[in-house]
Symmetry: C2
Subunit: 142 residues, 2 copies
DNA sequence: GTATGTGCAAATCATTTGCATTCTC
DNA sequence: GAGAATGCAAATGATTTGCACATAC
């Protein structure tokens, strides 16, 4: 599998945009983060490594990474977006409680069957599956 | 099934809050809306009917409706939340394209099996299922 | 009567944008 | 050199909050 930087470089070329160090440093950092991240975290991690990229540039880069199929907007909580890289990384099935916001990842029961059928019927390439509902505790509170 | 106003009144009582005309008018309007809505739409619809409720009150009421299990945050697009009522309304399975944002509702293949199994395994009460991926057109563009 | 709720206007905060400067192609 | 990209600071826009007044219990 092509490294993500490579995928991005090809995307940039195809779009007729320019390769810049800033965007590649941000992308590299994103792929070193395990799990979800938000702009602030990303900015701080870069800063801590002595990499100076403005937030404006990060905000301008994220849509490109998304359009290149490298990341996705995972959720909008606490008033801002959280992202995660999706390239070369499977298992994005979560169960989220509408009451308390708890999130549980699951592989069992296999979401594969549904995904395969959806992929077949709608010709979608499936990336993530979010099931929303109420966890036992929140059902009890209701 | 109890009417939604009733469910809300019971919620209000249980929480030790007060019944107000404003909240009930907003709730009534929400249940007259078919499909998704956002705060602005809701505010305008109320205004058009000559019902004066401030946006601040709408913003303060929505979390209550959500906590009462009457509505859910459906998605955050165009910089703001879109909601939908979930009480007494099933079928919230959609397939959303990460590329272009297209949303397709589906019932076939049946998400029921997965939902039932999840409900059983995690004891969740399932409300909605969102599958994200890339539609045929966006896969072609990539 | 007291604690809540409302409306208004001001504040907040994530994100976006204008502009001068710097960098790719 | 021309068009893009960056950083900074200012603007934007949805949501939240302080406060004075009104209302439910």
């Amino acid at each position: 599998m092509k490294p993500e930087i490579r995928v991005f470089q090809e995307f940039i070329r195809k779009r007729g945009l320019r390769r810049t160090l800033e965007r590649e440093l941000v992308l590299q950092e994103i792929f070193e983060i395990h799990g979800h991240f938000d702009v602030d975290e990303l900015y701080l991690k870069l800063k801590q490594k002595g990499i100076k990229v403005s937030k404006a540039s990060i905000y301008r880069a994220l849509p490109l990474f998304r359009e290149a199929g490298l990341i996705r907007e995972a959720d909008f909580t606490d008033g801002h977006w959280h992202y995660e890289h999706i390239y070369g990384h499977s298992n994005h099935s979560h169960l989220k409680c509408l009451g308390c916001g708890e999130v549980v990842e699951f592989e069992e029961p296999s979401p594969q069957d549904l995904e395969k059928q959806l992929a077949k019927k709608y010709e979608y390439r499936i990336i993530a599956l979010e099931v929303q509902g109420y966890c036992p505790a929140c059902q009890r509170d209701a």
